[in-house]
Every structure is written in structure tokens, then in C-alpha cells.
Symmetry: C2
Amino acid sequence: MTKALPMRPTVVTCDLELPATCRSCDARSRGVCGAMTASQLREINRFTVRKELRPGSEIHAQGEVITSYANVIRGVVKLTKVLEDGRLQIVGLQFAPDFIGRPFATASAVTAEAATILEICTVPKSMLDRLVVFNSKLERRLFDQILAELDDAREWMLMLGRKTAREKVASFLHLLASHAQAEEDGPFEFEIPLTRQEISDFLGLTLETVSRQVTALRGENIIEVFDNRRVIVPFASKLAAAAKIDKA
Amino acid sequence: MTKALPMRPTVVTCDLELPATCRSCDARSRGVCGAMTASQLREINRFTVRKELRPGSEIHAQGEVITSYANVIRGVVKLTKVLEDGRLQIVGLQFAPDFIGRPFATASAVTAEAATILEICTVPKSMLDRLVVFNSKLERRLFDQILAELDDAREWMLMLGRKTAREKVASFLHLLASHAQAEEDGPFEFEIPLTRQEISDFLGLTLETVSRQVTALRGENIIEVFDNRRVIVPFASKLAAAAKIDKA
DNA sequence: CGATGTCTTGAAGCAGTTCAACCAGGGTGG
DNA sequence: CCACCCTGGTTGAACTGCTTCAAGACATCG
């Protein structure tokens, strides 16, 4: 897999050798691309495609054959499952620089869809599958990502099965808050990337209940809300308490 | 993995070279041990410990440091998470020959506990962690197991968030049924390995609701029940319909 | 035999759903 | 520029599916 470069004997990693699109990309430092050498990135870069998607557009559907993977560059992806009668549940949310796609599987068990304006970097499945075989570091990164998704899924099972509507909404806001900034108890602000309907599909509630609980949390000064989407959390600890986050 | 003949000098895999305990073990054919050579199994076998646990005894607790992995030989393991006030949710069920333990993590995010009389084969974490580095086939098996657990977790998220009590109970019975036998629509029988309380902890219900729904399903001739634990399903398709199993 | 644990059944209560009305912002076109 | 509609959100009132509380059935066990 190592690829020789024009007139340079030693293989070294240098930003200048990186593809232009990779240089400033978050996926290289914190995502799966960080497991690849400059030469591998240059190789793979010839097949990657950057895409910008509008909210609601589908990346792949439940049951569909997967032909490519992708990395989230900017925006939020929602993973959903539906019953035949149309009942829908969001089973995962992915933020930059998360990896989209189930390694080794041919068909997807979930629908992946842009929740916000979304920028992704797609790569043909066959390409990455081949690379994984030789690059154990890359396989390990993918493994770590899936393990994190499993931990998240189980955390949400606890939320779905045992928390009240109020706790569910607080848990959701806490999740977004923890993505918006690192731990610390000062006041801070973030944007909700989902509609009330989508939040309810994530929490196993109705949109009316979500709306009522947001209003309730606002009434208790646990959050402030502007323009329906912008949230200010004066004390992260109060939000965490309302969410009954489990300390594992 | 190629299997060979007696009286040869080269290192090949032969049942006779296998540790006695491994010879008839299901984990070797269908579980992670299948990814190891006879010599690796002999090596690792010096550190493995077979244990028989009674229902309710703990394998490891939520937040506890993990020092060993294990394989389920016989029985059922439940993975649980609890909130501080004691509310509990089962977030995973493991059957033979599943692997117990989160690779690479130092602490467990869940409690693992015997749900039935349980036989497991434990191995020190450091031992297996070292082996994984050199055996990519083994890593791949672990990866596949985790991917299956993720798919299960998401399936259950849909159930927890969007199904009715009746559908939840039917889904649970369907899950057990599919473990008891392969697909086919004839009548068949299996045993429920959990108490009503545990079923409710799995489905996000109360034990009373579970009891009522079991009674209701029995009244509709979708299932027959003997001694509270033994179930006969006359038509698997009727159970699947009641469970609203999603076709992905 | 009482004691204990698991399960069932009944009746009352309530958290969250359902149905419906209304509000605010943002196009769009006459 | 205003009337119009459309989408997303809020709020109210009635309803209901599940929970809660309570009692009783059944089996096992010292």
C-alpha cells in the first residue's frame, strides 16, 4: 500500500504532501482519516467526493445496498428506523468528524439523512474496505467509532425506556451541550439542529410534549431559548441534574 | 484454519492438538475462538477459567474496571444500566457463544449479570488484548460481534421509543423464538430465561403490564404458556405480525 | 404450615397522546 | 405593499394506555 513519491527517498508526513482538501479537514485530526499516511490520503483522495446536502436529503436508505462511506465535515446526520406503518425513531445522531456507514455490511439497517445543511466527504466502499485490510490503525479507528456508537445507543436505551418526558428533553439538550463545548459549569450557548418533530422522534415522544417540556424547563430557568433554535444554558449542572445523567 | 491429517511435522490445526475444554466448545465454531489457531488456543487456554454462575450473580458492574473478558458457553447474560434513583434498563442480552466485554475500554459502561444458570469461559483482558494486535482475524471477529450488538441496540431503540406494550412483549418473545430455532413457520417451543420483572426492565414497562400483555397474547392464541416460563408458538408469522418486526 | 417469591388480576390515577385552535415568521404573487 | 399561504411552534382540553397500588393465587421451601 505504500506508494513511492517522485524524487524523494524517505517517506515522511508533511502537510505539503497532503491533498489540499485534507489539509484543513477536521477528520484528519480527530476522525478516521487521522489513521492514514499522507501517501494513503493522496491515493484515496483521487476517489473521494465532497458533497453539500440540504436538510432532509437522504444519504442512504434503510435496507439499501451500501456503495460508499462518508465523513461528516459540517452539520448533523440523523440515523433513523421506521416501522411499516410509518412510526419512526431516530437511532443515532452524527456530528463532525464522525464516520458514516457500517463497515463490512452490504446493506444498511438504518436510513442516514441530513438533519441540517451538511457537508460530507464520500469515499467508495470498496476503496476503504481494501485499505482497512492493510492498515490496522485505520481498522482500529473504525472500531473505536463503532464502540462509541454502541455506548451512545445503550445510553439512549436507558433514556427511552426509563426516563420521563422532562428528563428526556433535558438529556437531549445536555447531549447537544456536551457537543458544543467541553465540560465546565459556566453559561454557554448552542443551536438545536433538529425541529421539534425530529426531537420527538429521537426521544420517543410527540412534538407537543417536547414543546411543553421545553417551555417548562424555560420556566424553571434551566435554559433560555431564542428563535426556537438558540439555547443558552446558565448552569450546566442544573441541566445535568434535570437530565438525570447516569454516572458510569 | 485449514485442517489437516495426522502424523505430519508442520504446524497445522487438528482437534487433537486443541485443549480438551475447547474441543466441544461452541465458541470455537461460531464464537471468537474460531479466529484462533490451535497453538494460540493452547497458549491462551493456560489462562482461561471456566465458571458456573447462579442467576443474579454479577460478572462486572457498571463503572467497574475490567480485568477479564469471557465467552458465554451456556445460559443468558443481561447487560443493564441504572440511574442513581434505581431505575433500571436492560440494554443487552447475550446468548452462547457471544463474547462478554468491551474491547479496548478500561471501564465498563454496563453491568453484566447472569440471568440464568450460566457457564462462561473467562480470559484475562491483557492476554486477549495482546493477541488481538497480532491476529487480525480475531480483531475482525470481535468487530463483527460489536457490530451485531449495535444493530440489536438500534432495533431495540425503535422498540422502546415507538412500539406499544403489546408489540413490545411480542417483539421480546419473537427475539427469543429466533434464538431458539431458525426461520420457519411451524409450531415450536422455547423457554423464557427472564422473570416478568426482568422482561419489563428490558421492554421499559412494569411487570404488571408485561403480565397483562402475555395473558392477552395467550387469549388471542398467538402463544401458549406453561409453568410461566415455557412458551409454544403455533405460528411464528402471527407472532411476528403482533411484534411489527421491521423489515430492513 | 407459615414464609417467601413469582405471577395474575382489579381498580384508580396520571403522564403523555390526540385533536384542534392559534401564533409568528417568511416567502410569493397579484 | 398587502393578502395569502405555508411551515414550525405553542397552548388548551379531552382522552387513553400504561402505571400504581392493592389483593389474591400458586408454587417452592425451610
